[in-house]
């Protein structure tokens, strides 16, 4: 098979690359989409929460063990580090909401957005000051040797990223659709005032939303840090791309985040290969996709068209 002049085995590899890249975007997009779903607000600082999750996981992990040794203690430390990262990120997420967003809940839309941009910049630079700007290596707790399937290769971490993404999405959907808290969240997202009249403590729900979204970002942070190292600006572009993914899939929609992410990853990988443009144009593809979606179908791929009534 020779599609677009790319031989079959190379094509498969590109698909795999695109899928894993997409899975990465999906993981981060879940948090974005949750917050937007509830608050109709783009948490610009989400990428930085992702980054801080990576750093927290990194420091605990390297404090508890020396990863190169291998063995079961390494695996245990890794899991502990991920949990620690999740908790810390959840706390940071809730704090940010309290300090920088809650005071602006009644303000015009411009204000919380600018505030979020400000928080994002502050967090990234604080991390650079505290941890140094040099990338840090985050070793795999397991043997990440490549698995060769014919001429196509994949690593265990890539498989894990895909698997974790799916599990998180499924888990989140179950939580939102089937549990009482999830119901409260859905109610708050539809109409905050009515929800509070029905006895839902809106502030708690909002904090919870931030907490969950941030915890998910932390998991993404650790997995991705292992692939691409930990450095202060890791949240910037990843955050933006994840936001694009969320918009593409339908912002506010959990499955949308997953689908949007995968789609974006594939578009980026294949766009460059098929169009024959230089690698650096990946970002242009992503942002062009964003602008096109915003123009053509701003509610995203999955959501049926809800025309805004005047």
């Amino acid at each position: 098979m020779n599609l677009f002049n790319i031989p079959a085995n190379e094509l498969l590899q590109h698909i795999l690359n695109g899928l894993t890249l997409g899975a990465i975007y999906s993981l981060i997009a879940l948090g974005y989409t949750m917050v937007y779903g509830i608050l109709k607000f783009i948490n610009f600082a989400h990428g930085e929460i992702f980054m801080l999750g990576a750093y927290s996981g990194y420091y605990l992990y390297y404090y508890l063990c020396t990863p190169d040794q291998g063995g079961s203690w390494v695996m245990i430390s890794f899991i502990l580090s991920v949990l620690f990262a999740m908790i810390l990120s959840a706390v940071i997420g809730m704090l940010i909401e309290r300090i920088a967003y809650r005071p602006l809940r009644r303000a015009p839309r411009l204000a919380p957005l600018l505030s979020a941009i400000g928080v994002s910049i502050i967090l990234m630079n604080l991390a650079a000051l505290a941890f140094g700007t040099e990338p840090k290596n985050f070793s795999y707790p397991f043997d990440n040797s490549v698995i060769n399937m014919g001429t196509t290769s994949i690593t265990p971490n890539q498989i894990m990223i895909l698997a974790v993404g799916l599990i998180m999405m499924a888990g989140l959907k179950l939580f939102v659709d089937r549990t009482k808290l999830g119901k409260a969240m859905r109610a708050t997202s539809q109409n905050q005032n009515v929800a509070s009249l029905m006895g839902i403590n809106v502030n708690v729900i909002i904090s919870l939303t931030f907490a969950i979204g941030s915890a998910l970002a932390a998991v993404a942070g650790v997995l991705i840090a292992m692939e691409y190292k930990v450095y202060p600006s890791m949240g910037q572009m990843a955050g933006l791309k994840a936001f694009i993914a969320a918009v593409v899939g339908g912002i506010g929609n959990i499955s949308g985040a997953m689908i949007g992410g995968i789609l974006l990853g594939l578009l980026e990988t294949f766009g460059v290969v098929i169009l024959g443009i230089p690698q650096g144009m990946k970002d242009t593809i992503a942002f062009s996709v964003l602008i096109i979606i915003l123009l053509v179908k701003p509610s995203g791929i999955l959501i049926r068209n809800i025309r805004e009534k005047v």
Binding site: E10, Q13, D68, E134, P135, N148, S153, Y231, Q279
Partner: protein, 386 residues
């Protein structure tokens, strides 16, 4: 409005006070002190600090101390421009060790030249640099020499005839990649792929997948360590079996931290090894003072600083109880450097300020660097030096 003026005025007062210090001879260092490439800047500026301390301990410039002013360019041209304006306009330095990255050096050279500041770069290898002015020098091997020698080595000695190149779009990497390609094809070899990425990219899988499909025998990655780390790891993840080669950017030991499982066994080019006592003493001093080893660029920085300061001393005289330094004289003394006994080797500048040197073929083994061969380029042939 009044408040604004008051603030402005007090700030201006502060400046005049800050400028009022006198009586030292100022030289500058410019490099990435913060940002992803800060390790290069750190190692090199530390070397210059040692040189300045030694020099001052021996009496400085006719009794006046040399003061080192370190400016951070974050590895980028846009931060380098204000930095050179400060060094030239406010500090009025007599010489600069820097910049570190070729792109920055190329950008600031015209200003250094116009201000008659001798600029000795310890690491900018782009071939056009010394031509930018009479005051511009470098004590590091230049790219076209590196590329030519390496192309010949790869084809003739390792008998490799198919290479894929993955470079990053900046002056250093792109320059090396192009020069290597030209020479390698001249030798008779084939460059099967020429893929590129951007500085700061983390994911090179798409380029590497394309390269994998072409099954080259060798992969040449003339980049800085941040990108090299990602590339070699991902090459391994994709199951690429081609032998990997790099250039002097690989010589920063941070690579062993960033890619511990893949950094060994890579062959790269660098200036031929120097086994002099000067080098040994310097390394000992450096290690004692800073707790880490210097890299080759730090050795170059140390040498460049010493050449600069010696020239300043020789060009200085005391007139009416004030120290007067003739900038043109500093330049001509530096230009006449021949067989200077440096930590990086014997240093001689060519007529336009470039370095005369031999190229070594090195490898990384057990998280350390080892030279395996050294070559001299003469009459378009490489001659091995034992």
């Amino acid at each position: 409005m009044k408040r604004l003026l008051a603030i402005l005025f007090s700030i201006m007062l502060l400046f005049t006070m800050a400028c009022g210090k006198g009586d030292t001879v100022k030289i500058g260092f410019m490099g990435p002190m913060t940002g992803g490439d800060s390790n290069y800047g750190k190692l090199m500026s530390q070397a210059v600090k040692i040189a300045v301390e030694e020099f001052n301990a021996q009496g400085g410039v006719l009794g006046y101390n040399v003061e080192l002013i370190i400016e951070d360019d974050q590895g980028s041209v846009e931060k380098g421009n204000p930095a050179i304006e400060k060094l030239a306009g406010i500090d009025k330095v007599y010489g600069i060790i820097g910049a570190v990255f070729s792109s920055v050096s190329l950008a600031i050279a015209p200003k250094a030249e116009a201000s008659k500041i001798v600029m000795i770069s310890p690491s900018s290898t782009h071939k056009d640099l010394p031509d930018k002015g009479e005051f511009i020098f470098r004590d590091v091997i230049n790219d076209s020499m590196q590329a030519i020698v390496f192309a010949k080595y790869l084809y003739q000695v390792e008998k490799t005839n198919s290479v894929a190149i993955l470079y990053v779009k900046n002056d250093y990497s792109q320059g090396l990649a192009m020069d290597f390609k030209t020479q390698f094809e001249k030798e008779g070899g084939k460059v099967v792929a020429m893929e590129s990425g951007l500085k700061g990219d983390k994911d090179f899988k798409t380029q590497l997948t394309k390269i994998k499909g072409l099954s080259p025998k060798a992969l040449y990655i003339p980049n800085y360590v941040e990108e090299i780390a990602q590339i070699i790891e991902q090459a391994k993840q994709l199951g690429i079996t081609a032998k990997i080669y790099s250039a002097d950017g690989f010589s920063n030991p941070k690579i062993f931290e960033l890619a511990p499982k893949s950094a060994n066994g890579i062959i790269f080019t660098q200036i031929a090894e120097n086994r002099s006592q000067v080098k040994k003493d310097f390394i000992t001093k450096y290690k004692t003072k800073f707790g880490e080893d210097p890299d080759i660029f730090a050795l170059n920085s140390y040498d460049g600083a010493r050449i600069l300061m010696n020239a300043i001393k020789q060009a200085a005289e005391i007139k009416d109880k004030k120290l007067v330094i003739d900038r043109d004289k500093v330049r001509s003394i530096v230009a006449a450097t021949k067989d200077f006994d440096g930590a990086s080797g014997k240093i001689t500048f060519t007529a336009n300020g470039d370095l005369v040197a031999n190229i070594g073929i090195w490898t990384s083994e057990n998280n350390q660097y080892k030279q395996i061969k050294a070559y001299k380029l003469e009459n378009d042939k490489i001659i091995e030096i034992k």
